[in-house]
């Protein structure tokens, strides 16, 4: 699903260059459920943005679902985001003056589907997240967990092949967080590739594969070989254990 080779991502200011991703390689197969972990500033969100075609990269190649997306124009990237990728954000990012139905409808609008087809898909997506009874509610009338479930419905309504979730449980209590993870597992079981960024090791263990980032470089280990210091670098006093090279 995701094949990145030697990706470079540099943030430049007038005097400083920051290499957010440097010589970065990543391969994630179709149908995988992957957790992305790492300390703050390690490049997790940058990676997610590059993977989701929300941010350009400075070098390397990126094959997404068999399609080279390294040199696409804005319209082509928008189409791929719309059709192949679903996003879930930490702060839900629902549009406050649209109700649940209309929020879930947003990606379908940009796909140009007919009203009947959109309604059918929206109802299906809300069925998956258990919010059909809240279809006319506005975000402010929903709890944090419910808002994130709406965001999940919005991510899956277009039946994307890839879900990218950036700390989807970061603003939720543990019960709600587990509900969201349940949902993501359910979606993954349907064949959708899921990549989540999380700081929560407990939640990360629910994915079969975890990826660790440090200083824009990848440490990719199977779950059983996971080194303890990288697991929670802050708690363990250092992020540098020599595994990032």
């Amino acid at each position: 699903m995701i094949n990145m080779q030697n990706i470079q991502k540099i943030y430049r200011t007038e005097h400083v260059e920051t290499h957010a991703l440097s010589g970065f390689n990543l391969n994630i197969g179709s149908g995988e459920f992957v957790s992305l972990m790492g300390p703050s500033g390690s490049g997790k969100t940058t990676l997610l943005n590059v993977a989701g075609l929300l941010d350009a990269f400075d070098g390397g190649s990126y094959i997404l679902d068999g399609e080279d997306v390294s040199r696409l124009n804005d319209r082509q990237m928008s189409r791929i985001r719309n059709e192949k990728i679903g996003f879930i954000f930490q702060s839900f990012n629902l549009i406050p003056d649209l109700n649940v139905f209309d929020n879930v409808d947003v990606p379908l609008r940009y796909r140009g589907l007919a009203a009947g087809a959109r309604r059918e898909r929206i109802e299906e997506a809300l069925e998956i997240v258990g919010l059909t009874s809240r279809i006319s509610h506005y975000p402010a009338q929903l709890s944090g967990g419910q808002q994130q479930r709406v965001a999940v419905a919005r991510a899956v309504v277009g039946t994307p092949k890839l879900i990218l979730a950036d700390e989807p449980t970061g603003n939720l209590d543990s019960a709600m967080a587990n509900e969201i993870m349940d949902l993501l597992e359910k979606i993954n079981d349907l064949g959708t590739t899921v990549v989540i960024v999380t700081h929560d090791p407990e939640l990360a263990t629910r994915s079969p594969r975890q990826i660790y980032l440090l200083d824009g470089r990848l440490v990719d280990l199977e779950k059983d070989e996971r080194p303890a210091p990288l697991y929670n670098p802050v708690e363990n006093g250092t992020a540098d254990n020599g595994m990032s090279a």
Binding site: N49, D74, F89
Partner: protein, 437 residues
């Protein structure tokens, strides 16, 4: 997609009613001022008889002083009126479909009712062709016949207001109207007729109302009628009799002809040239041959009928709208950039830059349309003020053309104000805002 974008735009406007109100009011103010001023200009410079203005011609022949032209700034101009001698000569032509010499005089109206006092009224002396040539509408009866011109028969046409005043608004055809101690039979009553421009005679006030009373031109000699409009002369004439004035080189009459096609126009020009050449042999017309027939709009342009104030108002109106639009750019930019996180979400969900640009431009056009609707309402009030400013000489009002023009102006204002903010918001990097919303 457009319906969706309009819906989103409405929601966006409802989100901050005060700001939206300011934006709409800004456009409305610009539209109200510009539309009012453009309407003023449009009516003052518009075609007063569009259905045939290209077939109606004002006749000009250069009978002026051989040593000094009529207009030192425009040496190519012949005098703007004709002598009585030339009118008599030119009216002999049978080429025009219609033709009428005319001038305005003043006469005393003596009402039938004893308790009504006599009053002075402006009268237009004209030929019978005046009415069909200028499409003058009739409420009752018609104009007089060509044979009545020859008499001249004591017939009269009155306007609707005079008919209300003297005959209570009834069908007064056949009734008698007494003017300067002579009786005339009413043959026609005009319907409401108020060309914006008094185009057939722009000599004194080109925006005055049409005359109240119309009599056959040929009464000029038996009644010894003098013009109550302009007359100009360059040559002293001997004698003090009215006939001496009529035979003088004074210009005081207008002559209009209707020529329906190019052939007819060419033939009439040849006729004019032949007439003047004949007059030259008799010692008149010592200036170079300079005969012109002016279509209505060309004549109004030559006579500089549109007042300078109207042109200034047009420029002020346009500038006002531009200033309003430019001021809106800043407010819209702030409004749109505050919405960058939502745009980031939409971009993540598949909106292209183009669709983000279009969505915001639609919102600007919605502001323009709402402002335009409000502005049209306001412009009615502004036009009332302008009408008062001109002492109600005119009745400036919006017509369909101006409503359409105002709508287009409002959309243009929305576009001008919206392009840059829409472009800026569609260029924001979506990733920047997704974490912080």
């Amino acid at each position: 997609m457009l319906a969706y974008q309009i819906r989103i735009a409405f929601k966006s406007l409802r989100r901050n009613p005060l700001q939206s109100g300011l934006l709409i009011a800004g456009v409305a103010l610009g539209i109200a001022i510009s539309t009012s001023f453009v309407t003023t200009y449009y009516m003052l410079s518009g075609d007063p008889i569009p259905e045939k203005s290209d077939r109606l011609f004002h006749v000009a022949v250069d009978s002026w002083d051989p040593d000094n032209g009529w207009d030192s700034d425009h040496p190519e101009y012949a005098p703007n009126q004709l002598t009585y001698t030339d009118v008599r000569g030119l009216m002999q032509s049978d080429l025009p479909t219609y033709q009428s010499a005319a001038f305005k005089a003043a006469m005393t109206v003596q009402p039938e009712a004893e308790n009504e006092k006599p009053y002075r009224e402006i009268v237009r002396m004209a030929f019978s062709d005046f009415f069909p040539m200028f499409n003058v509408p009739f409420q009752y009866g018609t104009g007089w016949s060509r044979s009545a011109d020859e008499g001249p028969d004591p017939v009269v046409v009155i306007d609707a207001e005079t008919n209300r005043k003297l005959f209570g608004g009834e069908d007064s055809v056949g009734r008698t109207l007494r003017l300067d101690n002579r009786d005339y039979t009413v043959v026609g009553v005009l319907d409401e007729w108020r060309p914006t421009i008094h185009f057939y005679d722009v000599n004194n006030n080109p925006f005055e109302e049409p005359e109240a009373i119309y009599l056959p031109f040929n009464f000029v000699e038996p009644l010894e009628l003098q013009s109550s409009g302009n007359d100009s002369g360059w040559k002293f004439y001997a004698g003090n009799e009215f006939q001496d004035f009529l035979q003088s080189e004074s210009v005081w009459l207008q002559l209009w002809v209707q020529l329906d096609d190019r052939r007819q126009q060419e033939e009439y020009k040849s006729f004019l040239d032949a007439y003047v050449m004949e007059q030259k042999k008799a010692g008149r017309f010592q200036r170079p041959l300079n005969n012109r027939i002016y279509p209505v709009m060309e004549w109004l342009e030559r006579e500089e009928v549109t007042p300078d104030q109207a042109k200034v108002m047009l420029i002020i109106g346009a500038l006002f709208l531009i200033v309003c639009s430019v001021n809106l750019i800043g407010i819209l930019l702030g409004k749109f950039l505050a919405r960058a996180p939502e745009v980031g979400v939409r971009r993540a969900l598949g909106a292209s830059r183009t669709s983000v640009f279009m969505q915001h431009l639609v919102e600007c056009e919605l502001i323009g349309a709402l402002g335009g609707a409000l502005g049209l309402g306001l412009s009615v009030l502004v036009l009332r003020v302008i009408n008062r400013w001109f002492d109600n000489q005119f009745q400036f009002q919006l017509d369909l053309t101006m409503v359409l023009a105002a709508t287009l102006l409002a959309l243009a204002a929305g576009f001008i104000a919206g392009v840059y903010p829409s472009w800026r918001i569609c260029r924001v990097a979506p990733a920047t805002y997704l974490k912080i919303q």
